[in-house]
Structures are given as C-alpha cells and as structure tokens.
C-alpha cells in the first residue's frame, strides 16, 4: 500500500502538478499557472450546505405542487404548474423541445438537489454513501444541464412579453421556485463536491 500524499495534486484543467498548502477557512486555492479553482477551504462544516440543500428540496416540492403562474385574458383564466410548460409542448407534438425543457428546467435540478442531500446526509453519519463515486460524478455531470436559474430569467422575459396584453399573476409555486434557485445557489457556493471523499467524517480516507 503506497501512502498517498494528499498535498500533491494535479490540476484537472491543465494537468499541472503542484504542492497544495492547507487552505484557510473561506479561502480558495487556485492553480499556479491556469488559475482554475483547485480547492476551497479544507473541512468546513457540512451542516450549512446540507441545511440549504434540504430547504431547496422542500422549496422544489412546493414549486411543483402549487400553481406556478396564471394568465387572465378576455375573462378567461389560464392556470399553470411548473410542468405545464413542458406538457403543453408535448401535447402540441413538439417532443424534442418538451423533453429539453423538462430535463433542463425540472429533472436535472431535482436530481442534482436530491443526490446532494443524500450524499451529505450519509457522510454526516460517517458512512461512505452507496455508489459514492458514481453519484458524485452524476451530480457534476448534470451541472451544466441544470438550468433552474436560467428558467427563472425566462419567466421574467415571458411575463414582460405577456404583460402587454394580459395580466400575469404569480402563484405560490413561482415564489417557491425563486426560493429554490436562491437556496440551491447558496448551497453550491458553500460546497466543494470534489473534497467530499476526503472528509474527516469518513475514516476510509477516500479509499473505496
């Protein structure tokens, strides 16, 4: 068994080997030559990102279960849930657009948040999560496709366009969705997924 020196790391963006000094709290280590983010501070508490992720999960459930937006035009009221956007496209036979919207707007963020909650809960109990590496890889791979924040900007643009000829009313679901985006952004900012495998809670020290 070869002892692994955790302080020697290879930058994943440029392959540069370097000695990584201990990162003080609320600091970030960047690669010496390409300036890519290498590591955030070593072992901050997991409670903050866990609480934020769980709150985001609850907000997401509310956003999905309550009316999102409704539009009043010529005396008719058209109510809308979060999934209605993708469902309407499906009904009109725009399958490709429908799947794309459902995946990037709802499915990818929901999967990401649930998996991070699961990982953090397991690690907090001192257990190496089942299929840890693969789950973590799925979370990072979903990253660019998880577009809840972009969806929110889309809502603002759509309401500006519709506001010209009809009254748009935001429902509970809309506010829950805003809360979810904010909570999830805060959670991602306080969490370094690549450092999870080296948490002191896991006595395994990163070995499977």
């Amino acid at each position: 068994m070869v002892k692994i020196d955790h302080s020697v790391v290879r930058c994943t963006s440029c392959d540069g080997w370097q000695q990584l000094p201990p990162v003080p709290p609320s600091h970030r280590a960047r690669c010496y030559r390409c300036r890519a983010l290498l590591q955030r501070s070593k072992h901050p508490s997991l409670d903050v990102p866990l609480a934020l992720s769980l709150a985001a999960l609850i907000a997401l459930a509310i956003a999905n279960g309550t009316p999102f937006l409704s539009l009043e035009y010529a005396g008719i009221r058209q109510s809308n849930f979060l999934v209605t956007g993708a469902m309407a496209l499906w009904q009109d036979d725009h399958f490709f657009l429908s799947l794309l919207v459902a995946f990037t707007g709802i499915l990818a963020p929901a999967t990401q948040i649930s998996l991070v909650c699961y990982l953090l809960l397991s690690i907090r109990r001192g257990r190496l999560p089942w299929k840890f590496g693969r789950t973590l890889r799925l979370v990072t791979a979903l990253g660019p496709w998880s577009m809840a924040g972009v969806y929110l900007i889309g809502v603002f643009v759509a309401s500006a366009k519709l506001g010209q000829f009809a009254a748009l009313v935001e429902g509970t679901g809309f506010y829950a969705f805003v809360a979810m985006v904010l909570l999830w952004t805060a959670s991602s900012a306080t969490l370094d997924p690549r450092a999870l495998g080296r948490r002191p809670e896991l006595n395994a020290g990163g070995a499977p």
């Binding site: 035009y73 590496g133 500006a160």
Partner: protein
C-alpha cells in the same frame, strides 16, 4: 512498481495509476475511464462546432414564435422579438434576450473556434488568456436557453382557443440544437491542450 497518485477528473478522489501497465484503467471510485486526454477531443469539438455554426443561421432567420392573436398570425424571429421588446420600452429585457440568444451562442462558437485554432499553433504567451476564455465560455453556456424557456412558458400560458394561441416555430428547434451542440462542444474541448508544450513538475 511505479505508481503516481493523482485526483480522478470525474469524482475528484485520489487514485493511483500503474504507469508500467497499459490498457484501459478505470477510477476505483466512479469507474470513469482514466485518461490523460479526452480521446479525439479536437476533431469532435470541431465537428460539433461546425454543426452549431451552420444551425445558427436558420436559428436566427426562421421564426421562433408563431403567434395567433385575434385572427392575426405573426411569425417572429429572435431579433424581431428583441425589437418588439425595445419598441415597447422594455429595453432592459430586450438587452437580456439579445445577449442570451444572439451574442452568447456566437461568443461560444467564436471562443471555442479560437481555442481550437490556437491550440494548433500554440502561441505560448496567450496561454493564461486562453484558459480564462475557456472558463468564460463554459460559464455562459446555459444562459442561451432563456428563449427556449420563454417559448415553453408562452405556449403553456397563451391557450385561449381562437382568441390567442402560441406555437414554437422552426427556428426554435434549430436554436435548441445550437444550444445543445455548443454546450457539447465546450464539454468536448480539453483545456489541458492549452498547456501541452509545457513539461513542468513542481
């Protein structure tokens, strides 16, 4: 046996590779293939980029919306949508749509194109600049999806039978393809090729 510790690119866990043995090695934690380079990265990225560049033209010329309002039908391209927003005084939102839908995809195509060409000729002095350009292109990627979400919201909200309906136009599908292809191109590009000629160990 000669072993080198390193972090797995996918899961960030520490791995060791036996440099003496060849063949496909996988990360013991996440089973990702351990390779120093994404195989065929440059060719695949170039192919995705050319496809995105070609589709960018119909995405902007074909209508993205087909609106039926009180018996009148109108087809709007992305640029016409921006012009309408600015004409009704919402120049801020118009600017957001212009940047997200027209500027960002173009910037992604030109940015990755520049990186691919530069990796070929390797001007050493611009390395850090190129590494930063890649991070910018990577970060702005998802924001071009705004117009697709706007289309889906409009289609689901504006359903008033003969009074008013809303449908995505052929431009919307082309535009969605541009977004997906540019995002795949960014993912396919290997930023390590920027640093290739440097053989340093610290």
């Amino acid at each position: 046996m000669n072993t080198t510790p390193f972090t797995c690119d996918e899961c960030g866990l520490q791995c060791r590779t036996h440099e003496a043995t060849g063949g496909t090695q996988r990360c013991p934690h996440c089973h990702a293939r351990i390779e120093r380079r994404k195989p065929g990265s440059a060719q695949r990225t170039a192919a995705l980029l050319i496809a995105a560049g070609i589709l960018y033209i119909p995405a902007n010329l074909l209508p993205i919306f087909e609106v039926q309002l009180l018996g009148r039908t109108s087809n709007d391209t992305i640029l016409e949508g921006v012009a309408q927003l600015i004409a009704s005084g919402m120049w801020m939102i118009g600017a957001v749509v212009f940047i997200a839908s027209i500027a960002v995809p173009l910037l992604k195509i030109l940015g990755i194109g520049t990186l691919l060409l530069a990796s070929r000729f390797k001007p050493d002095s611009t390395r850090l600049g190129r590494a930063r350009l890649f991070r910018v292109v990577e970060a702005i990627g998802p924001w071009s999806m705004i117009d697709i979400f706007v289309v889906s919201l409009m289609v689901s909200l504006v359903r008033f039978g003969t009074l008013a309906t809303f449908a995505p136009g052929p431009g919307a599908v082309c535009f969605a393809c541009v977004v997906i292809l540019t995002m795949l191109a960014v993912r396919g590009f290997d930023p390590r090729t920027i640093w290739d000629p440097v053989e340093e160990k610290v």
